[in-house]
Subunit: 514 residues, 2 copies
């Protein structure tokens, strides 16, 4: 981290880094429906003002896998107003663009002669806007087709078993500065975790060493979108799995703003975790001030500057333990209500005191986590009614919890909250139980595949999920049969036997192949 002179930009690549904008979050809520768009608009404005070379997004640009028309239109409008202008783009992409950008056009958006792109945006997908359906398209592919976003890091899974992926960096040059940008769109944590532990499963392509310089002349950035918090190590990516040649990592998915780059001891790289630009979960981590990062790279040095987002709705969070409060008694519900009222009013006052000129008119989000051990809970909806028009979330100000058996363990509580950020996993027992109950004999479809299809159908609004699942399995069975028999005909009984073998063979690696 050197001292870069502020004036010399001809050799400095200037990147605005943000993540998890969750466009369309709470779009049905009358108070909060614009929040995600206002924050994204602010990010684009900062990029304009700071005259950065590019914007880098770490996934979950969209909250819904299949965003509504309104969300798509608003996203396109914001990007169109900020990305299209006459400002010249001052860096070059020198890698094979058809490999980096897997759309029909196969080039970085500002090189298209029919668009005046002045602010190029690069994004990977997250777990919310990941590719789905027969054509494996993400909502970001729509923005990519419009030439508004450079979508990268969509992995092609090769091989069988746990599979293999190859990361081809986008090679950027600005003056004497060379940046290799690796993108890794979200993959299910369990799977990526296992791949990282399998030799050669994750291939990192490195830029060729030029005659005049060393590989080390490239500044290597990785942007990924995975669990970082290690509640369950199988469900998070260990920073130590990442290769040491990396210089800088942009970690998406985690919503808490830890934007100041942290060094990972012994690995030689720094990690920034910008956090979401909109709170999608009313937990402590989301109540910290939201920021984006201005990253200035010159040679193999960089300077990080964190920039606060001022359009974000104020969010005040606190935790209380009823039995530790002296002014209430378990037998007097009124004393509890009065106490909670005082707590909430104080948070509203605090939010007003902190208000900046831009956000002061906004109703704040308020969350009180109440440890009610030894007390009765009260109805949070009814409690919230008097705060309509005073807070943005009257219906869920209060959340009740009980102290764990071990007593009140701070770190455990934080982890359990962080867990709420993640989409719930499908309970695999459900389909298995259904198959067992109905006495179904599965001859071609593995139950795991049906689980994934159900997940995609329900959570990703992927109406083709079951069709895709069936087609895929029929196709695999056919190929396997054709291969095994090599054109020879065989009897019907043999065929049934073979089909069964195919299913078993696929089941074996399906466990990893989700």
């Amino acid at each position: 981290m050197g001292d870069l002179p502020r004036e010399d930009n001809s050799n400095t690549l200037r990147v605005l880094v943000a993540t998890d904008c969750h466009l369309g979050y709470m779009e049905k809520d009358e108070v909060r429906r614009h929040d995600s768009f206002l924050a994204f608009e602010e990010i684009c404005k900062i990029a304009d003002e700071k005259q950065v070379d590019l914007v880098l997004l770490g996934g979950d640009l969209f909250h819904e896998n299949k965003p509504s028309r309104t969300t798509l239109v608003k996203a396109i409008e914001i990007l169109r107003r900020h990305c299209l202008n006459d400002r010249p783009v001052q860096f070059q992409v020198v890698s094979d663009q058809t490999v980096n950008f897997a759309n029909l056009f196969g080039h970085v958006n500002y090189e298209d002669p029919h668009f005046n792109i002045g602010l190029p945006v690069f994004s990977i997908h997250g777990n919310h806007d990941d590719p789905a359906g027969v054509d494996n398209l993400s909502a970001i592919d729509i923005l990519s087709a419009c030439n508004l976003v450079n979508y990268f890091g969509k992995m092609i899974l090769e091989g069988s078993g746990v599979g293999q992926i190859t990361l081809y960096p986008i090679l950027m040059k600005k003056g004497s500065t060379n940046v290799a940008l690796y993108g890794l769109g979200n993959i299910r944590d369990e799977r990526l975790n296992r791949m990282f532990q399998t030799p050669h499963a994750v291939q990192w392509m490195r830029p060729e060493v030029q005659e005049s310089c060393e590989v080390s002349d490239w500044f290597n950035i990785l942007v990924l979108h995975q669990n970082r918090v290690k509640t369950n190590p199988k469900n998070a990516i260990n920073e130590h799995f990442l290769p040491r040649f990396l210089d800088f990592i942009v970690w998406g998915h985690e919503h808490e703003c830890l934007v100041d780059p942290q060094e990972v001891p012994g690995m030689g790289f720094h990690i920034t975790q910008p956090g979401s630009s909109v709170a999608t979960s009313l937990i402590d981590g989301e109540s910290k001030p939201k920021h984006v990062l201005l990253l200035e790279i010159k040679g193999n040095q960089y300077r990080p500057t964190k920039i606060p987002l001022t359009s974000v709705r104020p969010f005040e969070y606190t935790e209380i333990v009823l039995k530790e409060e002296t002014d209430i008694s378990p037998n007097d519900q009124n004393s509890i209500l009065e106490h909670l009222d005082k707590v909430v009013s104080n948070l509203i006052d605090k939010s007003r005191r902190n208000a900046t000129s831009r956000s002061e008119l906004k109703l704040p989000l308020v969350r009180v986590k109440v440890d009610y051990s030894g007390f009765m809970t009260i109805n949070p909806q009814r409690f919230g009614q008097k705060y309509v028009g005073k807070v943005a979330n009257p219906q869920d100000i209060l959340i009740f919890s009980k102290a764990s058996k071990k007593g009140r363990n701070e770190s455990a509580a934080v982890i359990s909250d962080a867990e709420r950020l993640r989409p719930e996993e499908l309970n695999q027992q459900n389909i298995e139980a259904l198959v067992a109950e109905s006495n179904l004999k599965m001859e071609i479809l593995p139950v795991n595949d049906l689980d994934v299809a159900l997940h995609n159908f329900v959570n990703k609004d992927d109406k083709m999920a079951f069709y895709t699942c069936v087609q895929h399995n029929i196709q695999e069975t056919r190929s396997k049969l054709a291969k095994d028999t090599d054109g020879a005909k065989f009897e019907e009984d043999d065929l049934i036997l073979k089909v069964g073998e195919c299913l078993e063979a696929r089941k074996l690696y399906k466990f990893y192949n989700l």
Copy 2:
């Protein structure tokens, strides 16, 4: 219809007219999934080759109200490849563009300095891609936000009762030729029908008379998307309702290709009905060759040139009456099967003979309408199995009908087929019955509004439908109360009475206000 010299284009506005492209139709069908896109691609290619000034679409560009990611991406890709180029646009839009194009940008797409638009596309919406949801957005709004389509004809309904709409034409000038283009996106036929019969409910704005010329120097075009076939006159638009100052009408929605302009006696205008570019209903009307229209306008003369679409999947249709066939007997199912086999094989042969070089590799659509009076039906799925790989629709080659009591009435049969093109109306009894059965007392929501909400929720995948309905009615009730009481306070009993009156007042005109 004069003799325009082919060479002089500087005063001739050249328009390619097409409609009902239904992008995404049958996107789950392995054989037919690309059909709608191939036809649209061909339309765009024709526009390129003919170097037209603009493309005019008559609605239902999309088949689904909420198109899939795949459909959106493909539509954007096709438009981007054909509309963006360096060819100069040679006409001007001289009307108030913020009125014509109601998006955030408020101008015709080729005037945006950041896009090289060489082929401007203008489209109204149809009944499939009509605006819906809280923000009243159509899928075409997404293309409009991307600057790929000039979406017009989205009506703003004003006033109460049947309501009032105002049509502001897009005024186009090319050399000495002046064209006023009126767009009327789909409105429910019953409603539009009633508006046309209500004085002043439909306002047609006319271009101002310039000092040097008369109003008649404008060539007036209307593009609309409504039922034209008069099965039930309330459900179709009568051509005689349209104003006589119009010169030319592009009629969308009807899928049969009747592209040659027909004069409407006594009205002074001609109508072209290009028909759909993809068959969405296997009826006789859709089996006719598909065309688009090249419309060349100079002064107040025009020349129509119909252009066949060669990429369209062949479709052979016939009707047979079993009891009129001599080689079959009611007691011998085999003789029926053999006869039907012969008919289908002949249609496949016929389709091969007609094949052009481009479409000859395509499996044909085949439909045989069988009048089975006096015979048993056979299972169409089983019948079709042997045609897998030979026709595009093996599962529904056969459709069975019985002669009506009046005997076999040609025109009645045709009308009943045409009816199948239309989405089925919601049975209003269902919600009314539900409300009655549950003994619900509706105090704010009119049942009709709930019907519309249910319709939008189910058929348009509009998840906000009920929310919108409730919000709208609460808002109306509030405004009415505020107005009636003029700020004075009143008792709770009065309030309930007043709310009831509001509901009754709204019910009265809701019948027309769907």
